[in-house]
């Protein structure tokens, strides 16, 4: 085996891709070639050296790693609370917007109906909060006869 072939096999050996026969041939070559033997030793040392370096960098973190479960639980709780807060905020933010929309609709209720001239006092705006993320906003025309719901928003998606 020449040195060029040996270098290819040294890399393959480090990757665990050599057959037993290839490994034996390589060993024969390395026994008589100090340059290739040095290359082989250095390549073979990369894994253990990297693990040693990682070990040094990880030193002293055992206690923190033991507490990882607690850290993760606390983090999950924080994220959950943040999401709950923003969901609560989203639930309440749209209600004033819907009320404003309802009031403006009330003020600009179209002419051409049989109840003109328009008179705001004949309308009710009902806002009803419900337990979920939704609330109901209803614009009710009280009219002269029976009350009539003319616009209803059932939830934030409507």
């Amino acid at each position: 085996m020449d040195c060029r072939t040996a270098l290819g096999k040294i890399v393959a050996k480090a990757d665990g891709l050599l057959t037993r026969q290839d490994e034996a041939e390589l060993a024969d070559h390395l026994a008589g070639c100090p340059a290739c033997a040095a290359e082989d030793a250095a390549i073979a040392a990369t894994g253990p050296a990297l693990r040693a370096l990682t070990g040094i960098r990880a030193m002293g973190k055992g206690a923190a790693l033991d507490a990882m479960g607690t850290r993760v639980r606390a983090g999950i709780g924080e994220v959950r609370e943040t999401r709950r807060r923003s969901s609560r905020l989203a639930r309440w933010v749209w209600i004033p917007a819907a009320v404003a929309l309802a009031v403006s609709a009330l003020l600009f209720y179209p002419a051409g109906t049989d109840r003109s001239p328009f008179h705001p006092s004949s309308f009710d705006v009902a806002v009803e909060d419900v337990e979920s993320d939704a609330a109901t906003v209803a614009l009710v025309d009280k009219g002269e006869d029976l009350p009539r719901v003319i616009w209803i928003i059932e939830d934030a998606k409507t």
Partner: protein, 196 residues
């Protein structure tokens, strides 16, 4: 079944329980993988404290993404994809502004001159050879992020090539080429400090 599942509840069962609201089941997954995850994170970000944050954040993200897990696939390759991306993001943000110093506290006693073919195999041996430790650290830090991820997954975690490919979303050929490059760089740093 993964090594970690032997003798215990399978990952899939824990995931199903966690999705159903059993936080204890998710806690078991954390216990099962935190050590491996930490070693990989340290290898990529190069700092123990930062690695702890990366592991914590990865588990939290995993918890909220558990519903997306495809049963039948490996939990740990799925989790590692998230972990490695999180670690690479962390490393990019730090932008290596402050180099992690080689820990001199590990130096003890007189460092004996190294044998030309002998390389450190343990943290203790590496710590006794400060120059080599520094050189190796520089070589690791200088590796492109995905090359570093590949060699860490292979050498520190012991992952198979096809698993690394799944984690990084690339081909096995790409994994092997990155590994070859990374190993070559580390080898150069080792040899240059042994007069090679």
């Amino acid at each position: 079944m993964s090594e970690r599942e032997k003798g215990g509840v399978p990952d899939d069962a824990l995931i199903r329980a966690a999705v159903a609201g059993d936080d204890g089941a998710f806690g078991e997954l954390v216990e099962r993988y935190k050590g491996r995850a930490f070693a990989v994170a340290v290898g990529i970000v190069g700092d123990g404290d930062a690695a702890l944050d990366v592991v914590q954040d990865s588990f939290i993200k995993t918890y909220y993404k558990l519903k997306e897990f495809r049963f039948g696939s490996n939990f740990y390759t799925w989790f590692y994809r998230l972990l490695v991306n999180q670690a690479i993001d962390r490393w990019r943000k730090s932008a290596r502004s402050a180099e992690v110093p080689f820990d001199e506290s590990w130096l003890s006693g007189d460092a004996s001159p190294p044998d030309s073919f002998s390389y450190p195999r343990t943290p203790e041996e590496l710590a006794r050879d400060r120059e080599l430790g520094d050189a190796l650290q520089r070589a690791v830090d200088a590796l492109p992020e995905y090359h570093r991820a590949v060699i860490v997954l292979r050498e520190v975690d012991g992952m198979a090539y096809d698993e690394i490919a799944k984690v990084l979303g690339c081909s096995v050929g790409t994994v092997m080429s990155r590994l070859h490059y990374a190993r070559g760089k580390l080898k150069e740093s080792l040899k240059s400090h042994r007069g090679g």
